[in-house]
Amino acid sequence: MTVKKGNASVRGASVKMSRRKFMGTAASVAAAGTITGFPNIVQAADPLRTIGLGVSIINEIQGKAAKDLGFKIRGQALGYGALFGKTLNQNDQYDVSECYYDMFDVMIPSGVFQAIDTHRIKDWDKISDLTKTGMLTPGSSIGQGDAPVRQIWVDKDGKRAKGPSRYISGLPGWHNADSLGYNPDDTGRPIESWAELFHSDFKGRVALLNIPQVGAMDAAMGMEALGLIKFGDKGDMTRKEIDVLIDFLIVKKKEGHFRAFWETFGQSVNLMVSGEVALQSMWSPAVTAVNAEGVPCIYASPKEGMRGWHGAITISKKATGKRLDQAYEYLNWWISGWAGAFVARQGYYMSTPANTKKHLPADEWDFWYEGKPAAKELPDPFGSPLINKGQVRDGGSYEQRFKKIAVWNSVMTENDYLVKRWTEFLTAN
């Protein structure tokens, strides 16, 4: 059970948090937005304040950083919505925000971050080309949507800059590529395309992720793979495209195609373990958690490519003086290797693979990054056994996985319209 718990903290916990805290924080978040004139007096003993999702805000990580760096760090794990809102509306309430490149179409113009000077990032040259050129290895495809390379470069003032620059919007952190998880006993065949999401064989046995921005993208991958529509940019759909997509989904929903829509990590695991669904959009650590329950579950590598997402560590514009120096120290620590090894055991990759490799025993590196069979039983980040001897990571090696990212998580220009139509999809019966 501890195996699952370790994994469950990855993303599920954070989403649940947002639900629980919703009523309380909704007002306070917005209220604090009104009070911006207060001076931000920093005491030497005050901890460095960092916010993020449960993926990166984990006691072990911030605790180890504080120990290594010699100053206090206070991490606050939020749900996606709360993180988005706090980062945007309360940049005097954090020094570092561990957020995601798909938020940057909103965050960069709002000017809540300060530009990060790469000259102050010690291991800048060790950061892979995935975020610098968009291609992890030469010949990879960049992918549609908010690819990190489209969001990373800014000028000294934090405004968008074309092409490589000395300044960046956020320091590349942990990342992964998601696709479909399926139970091979139930599907009866390997799943090799997003089109299978809508195949009538699986009617009533399919689940989608109920986060409109991401769920719509998974559905769009499926619809495009079926040849029903060709999206200009799945990461930035037009109203017309959103209409076509949602109308299609409503028809499918009325046919009874969907078994459920999940919102948290735990729900997706539950749906698969209980046999309710045969096939669903899924996060990769959830597949590991399903396997840990003894239920077969495979992470598909669709021929159309996967959907990528990438964490970015940012510094608030309000951080100055000693606090700013500490923020830089914390950023440098994040990519120096220990944290990379920690998140690797949850199935996430780090922007500085060479540093991660130094902190990861060879067996674990081979399994998580090289896609080789586990030479022995491997642990999760908290030391409990997670991977059985001989197990192979679905989706192959890090390079294979990121060679073909079809689309990156994005917040579209028409986001409000998408959310409205998604609500209509959920209400349709």
């Binding site: 947002s18 639900r19 919703f22 909704a26 007002a27 978040v29 917005a30 209220a31 937005g33 009104t34 749900g79 996606y80 919505g81 988005f84 809102g85 945007l88 509306n89 909103v106 113009p109 709002s110 000017g111 809540v112 009533g204 689940a207 109920n210 986060i211 409109p212 921005q213 929903k253 969907f258 078994r259 459920a260 829509f261 999940w262 919102e263 729900q267 539950n270 209980s274 046999g275 309710e276 917040v411 986001n415 409000d416 959310v419 409205k420 139509r421 998604w422 609500t423 209509e424 959920l426 209400t427 019966n429």
Partner: protein
């Protein structure tokens, strides 16, 4: 209840508590004067002002703000109210959305629908239980024990119970195993869970106790002597229920229904866990917009939900005048 029937009852009721006489009234007044009653409500008042009134006012204020790419801007804009009520093509006879209420109004409508269905079922299921406890169980100790038994489900988080239904109602659950085993079906039925059936069943199961409590208390208050008197005068059990028990338990029914109404209107977790998120409730819409940091629109949705709830409560109170009945 009409005044006529009221008089009728008073005629029957010989053992009604006597009106407070002059001496007693003076005593009560004295106690009130001698005891600083205003101080008693101070903590609650401060609590409510801090955590209800002020947040409520801020929600009203936010609902007029603008949500720009650069963040929230204080303003007095009706943009999001327009968004709530108006759908493109509403006035266009050629559009497929001609005269179709906005998705937000439809969602609120479906929330009200599920709430009413659940209230109705809770009444049908809950009333007999309350009646049994109050009228059939004689010993007070047993009444109390059985009533506490009704509360047992509240001892665990209902989300835990909701999760526990899956092994019962799911595709591989007990019921499906039994149906398959007996050869009644040849493949698992899926309407039991992640379905409208499952959702309504769950809501009734979770909230029926909120109805049983108040109905039980108002039934227990009925003086048994009145019922005996009615029997002696030749009333049939149906007449007794229609003329005495029914009307006298109405306040409990109303209070119970208000509890259920208020709680289910704000529901969002059960729709996610038991209905598999396959429906939107007014609550999930608020969450969705909170999730994309569109606080003004979340606030508008919250206020409309609140308005619907206030209207609902007023309607219930119009049907039953609780003050008069108590």
């Amino acid at each position: 209840m009409s005044d006529a029937s009221k008089t009728h009852h008073t005629g029957l009721i010989g053992s009604q508590p006597k009106p407070v006489d002059g001496l007693q009234r003076a005593k009560i007044a004295h106690t009130e004067e001698g005891f600083p009653t205003a101080w008693l409500i101070t903590p609650a008042t401060i609590w409510l002002i801090l955590f209800l009134v002020i947040p409520l006012i801020s929600i009203i204020i936010f609902s007029f703000w603008e949500n720009t790419p650069g963040g929230l801007i204080p303003a007095f804009s009706f943009e999001f109210y327009g968004e709530y009520f108006y759908t493109e093509g509403f006035f266009d006879p050629d559009a497929d959305r001609f005269l179709l209420p906005s998705v937000f109004i439809r969602t609120l409508g479906s929330t009200i629908y599920f709430t009413l269905v659940t209230m109705f079922l809770c009444l049908i299921v809950g009333y007999p239980i309350a009646y049994f406890l109050a009228m059939q169980v004689q010993a007070f100790k047993w009444q109390l024990a059985l009533f506490l038994l009704c509360m047992v489900p509240f001892w665990t988080s209902y989300l835990i119970r909701a999760v526990a239904w899956l092994p019962m109602l799911g595709r591989r659950g007990l019921i499906n195993q039994a149906l398959l085993g007996m050869g009644i079906v040849d493949k698992p039925v899926s309407f039991l869970f992640y379905s409208e059936f499952g959702y309504t069943m769950a809501l009734v199961q979770i909230y029926v106790v909120l109805g049983i409590g108040p109905i039980f208390f108002s039934l227990a208050k009925i003086d048994k002597a009145i019922l005996e008197a009615a029997l002696d005068m030749g009333a049939t059990p149906f007449q007794i229920f229609r003329e005495i028990i029914g009307p006298m338990s109405l306040p409990g029914v109303a209070i119970g229904m208000i509890f259920i109404f208020v709680v289910i209107m704000g529901e969002f977790a059960t729709a996610v866990v038991v209905y598999g998120g396959k429906t939107s409730t007014a609550g999930t819409v608020i969450l969705n917009y909170y999730g994309i940091a569109n606080y003004p629109f979340a606030a508008v949705n919250a206020l409309m939900l609140m308005l619907a709830m206030v209207i609902g409560i007023v309607v219930i109170l119009r049907i039953v005048d609780i003050r008069k009945e108590l």
